[in-house]
Amino acid sequence: MTAVQEKSAAAPSARPEVRRRRKRPTVGAVIVYIAAGALAVMWLLPLLWAVSTSLKSETEASLGQDIHWIPETWSLEGYRTLFERGDHLTWMINSTIVSTIVTVLTLVLCVLAAYGFSRFDFPGKNIVFGAIIAGLMVPGQALIIPLFDLVNSLKLAGTYWGLALPQVVAPVMVFILKRFFDAIPRDYEEAAKLDGAGHLRVLWNVILPLSGPIMAAVGIFTFIGSWNNFLWPLLVATDPSMMTLPVGLGVVSGGYGLFYAQNMAAAVLGALPLLIVFLIFQKQIVKGIAGVGLK
C-alpha cells in the first residue's frame, strides 16, 4: 500500500528519468556483461589450449617451449600420426555402435514399460512398479563386481552386447515416460480403438507422435550417458580393438607420453562428437536438465 502511494506521489517527476535509465545500459549491466563474458572465455581456455596444442608441430608443442597460443607454424602432424595409428577411428566406431544399441533398446523397452504401467491394470502391477521405483535408488557402480561376474558367465565379456546390455536398465527413464504418458488424455486412444487399432498401433500412432520432445530428451541423455560411460567399458573391454572412445583414450592414449600435439589432437577429436550433438540439440538438453530441477 505504502509503496503504491509513494509511487503515485513521486510519479510525475521520476518517471521520465526511470525510462531513460532503462534504455541506456547502466554501469551495473556493463559490469555484468564484462564479468560474464570474461568468465566464459576463461572457462573455455582449457578446450582452446587443447585445440592450440593440437595444431602445433610435435617439436613446437613439446615441454620446455615457450607458452604461446597461436602456433608459429600451423601443423596437422598430430592429427596425421593419430590417423596413421588408426585405433582412434576403431574406438569411435565402437562407441557409436554401443551407444546406439543402448539408446535404441532403452527407448523401446522403457516406452513399452511406461505405456504398460500407464494404461493397464494387471495382477502384480503395483509390486513390479514398486520394485522398479526402488531401482532408482540402487547405485549401479557399487554393483560392478557381481555384474561383471554375471556378464562374464553369460560369455558376453569383450562383446558389444556385454558392453551395451547392462547399460539399458534405466528405471528413471521408465518413471519419466510414465509420468508423461499419464498426462496424455485418453480420448485420443479411445477414438483410435473404435477404429479397430490394436494396443501397439495406438502406442505407435497416437501416443508416440505426442511424445516427441520427451523421447528426444530421453534419447539424447541416454546416448550422452552411454558414450561417456567409463567404468563399465573399462572392465568389459580389455582388448584395445573392443574399447570405447573414453576407455581407449584413457588407457592407451595416456601412453602416447610426450607427444603432446598428438595427445591433444586425440583429445580434440574425442571431444568433438558430443560437442556437435550438444550444439545441435542444445535446446532439448537445456530443457531436459531444467526439468530435473523443476519437477
Binding site: G37, F122, Q141
Partner: protein, 314 residues
C-alpha cells in the same frame, strides 16, 4: 506325457475360476506383455547382481574361477578392520567436502550473471556447459597437460603472476598435498555446467513481479539476493547437494586417470579400492563385501533424495 497329466488339472482350475471378470483380466494380461521386456532386463542386470553380490560377500569367490566356498562373516570383519578401505572412504569424503562448495557457489554466481546478461545467453550457456558433455578421459588428458610441472599452462601463468617461484614449480598431480585439490579443480570445471543449468532454469521461473515490489520499497540488489532470490533457490540447492553427494560417493574415473590413486594412495577412493581388490587382487568375495558398504552409504543418500523428490510430487 507331462502335457497329458497336466491337462485335467488345468481344466479343473479353469472351471473353478469365477467367470465374471474374464474380460477385464484378459485385457489386464496385455499390460504385462508391455512391461515384461524391461522387467526381464531389470531383473537380470540389476536385481540379480544385487543379491549375487550379497551372496558373494559371504564366500571366498575368486576371479580365477576356482570353486568358491562359504566363509561366513570373514570378509565383512576384514572389511571393517581394513585400514586401506577406511582411508579410501575418507578420501572419498574429502573429495566431497572440497568439491561440493565450489560446485554450488560457482553455479549460483554464474547462473545469476547469465540470467542478467540475457543478450549473451546462448554463448554463455554453451561456454559453461560444454565441458560437461566432454568424455572424462578427454578432460583428464587436457588437464594433465595443463598441470605439467615444467612447461604446463597453469604453472606458467602462476609464475607470470609472481605467485610461484620458477625454480620450484608445483608438482600438482604427484604432490601428496596438491593431488586431491587438482582433481577437485578439474572436476569443478568439468561438471559445474550441469548445476549451473539447474540454477539458471530455477532463476528463470521466478516471477519478475516479486522483485518489482521490493525495488519500489527501495531494497538494494544485495538485499534482494539474500531475501528473495536465494530463499527461492533453496530446493534447487538441496537437489544439487544431494546429487553431488551421490556423484561424489561414486567418484572413480578422474582419480583412476589422473593420479592412479597416488601419490602414496592420497587419492585412492572407494570404488578404486573395490576395483583393486576385485580385479587386481582377484578377490571377488572381499570386493563384494566392500561394495556393499558403499552400496548402503549411497542408498541412504538416495533415499533422502527420493523423499525430496516425492515431497514435491504431492
Amino acid at each position: 506325457m507331462t502335457v497329458k497329466t497336466e491337462t485335467p488339472a488345468a481344466a479343473s482350475a479353469a472351471t473353478k475360476r469365477p467367470p465374471a471378470p474374464t474380460a477385464r483380466k484378459k485385457r489386464s494380461w496385455v499390460g504385462l506383455w508391455f512391461v515384461l521386456p524391461f522387467t526381464a532386463f531389470y531383473a537380470l542386470f540389476l536385481v540379480w547382481p544385487t543379491f549375487l553380490g550379497l551372496y558373494y560377500s559371504f564366500t571366498d569367490k575368486s576371479l580365477t574361477g576356482r570353486p568358491a566356498s562359504w566363509v561366513g562373516l570373514e570378509n565383512w570383519s576384514e572389511a571393517f578392520g581394513d585400514e586401506r578401505a577406511w582411508s579410501a572412504l575418507w578420501n572419498t569424503a574429502e573429495f566431497t567436502l572440497y568439491s561440493t562448495p565450489p560446485l554450488v557457489v560457482l553455479a549460483i554466481v554464474l547462473a545469476l550473471l547469465v540470467n542478467r546478461a540475457r543478450k549473451l545467453g546462448w554463448f554463455l550457456r554453451m561456454a559453461f556447459f560444454a565441458p560437461f558433455v566432454v568424455p572424462v578421459s578427454v578432460v583428464t588428458m587436457i588437464w594433465i597437460w595443463i598441470y605439467q610441472p615444467d612447461g604446463g599452462l597453469l604453472n606458467h601463468y602462476l609464475q607470470l603472476l609472481g605467485i610461484q617461484d620458477a625454480a620450484a614449480p608445483t608438482i600438482w598431480l604427484q604432490g601428496e598435498s596438491t593431488a586431491m585439490w587438482s582433481v577437485v579443480l578439474t572436476t569443478v570445471w568439468w561438471t559445474m555446467g550441469f548445476n549451473f543449468l539447474l540454477y539458471l532454469a530455477a532463476l528463470q521461473t521466478i516471477d519478475p513481479n516479486v522483485y518489482e515490489a521490493s525495488s519500489i520499497d527501495g531494497a538494494s540488489w544485495w538485499r534482494q539476493l539474500w531475501h528473495i532470490t536465494l530463499p527461492l533457490l533453496k530446493r534447487t540447492t538441496a537437489l544439487v547437494i544431494v546429487l553431488q553427494l551421490i556423484a561424489s560417493l561414486r567418484i572413480f574415473d578422474q582419480m583412476y586417470l589422473m593420479t592412479g590413486g597416488g601419490p602414496n594412495r592420497a587419492t585412492e577412493v572407494a570404488i578404486h579400492y573395490i576395483y583393486i581388490a576385485g580385479f587386481e587382487g582377484y578377490r571377488i568375495g572381499y570386493a563384494s563385501a566392500l561394495s556393499y558398504v558403499l552400496f548402503v552409504l549411497i542408498l541412504i543418500v538416495s533415499i533422502v533424495q527420493f523423499r525430496l523428490f516425492s515431497r514435491k510430487e504431492d
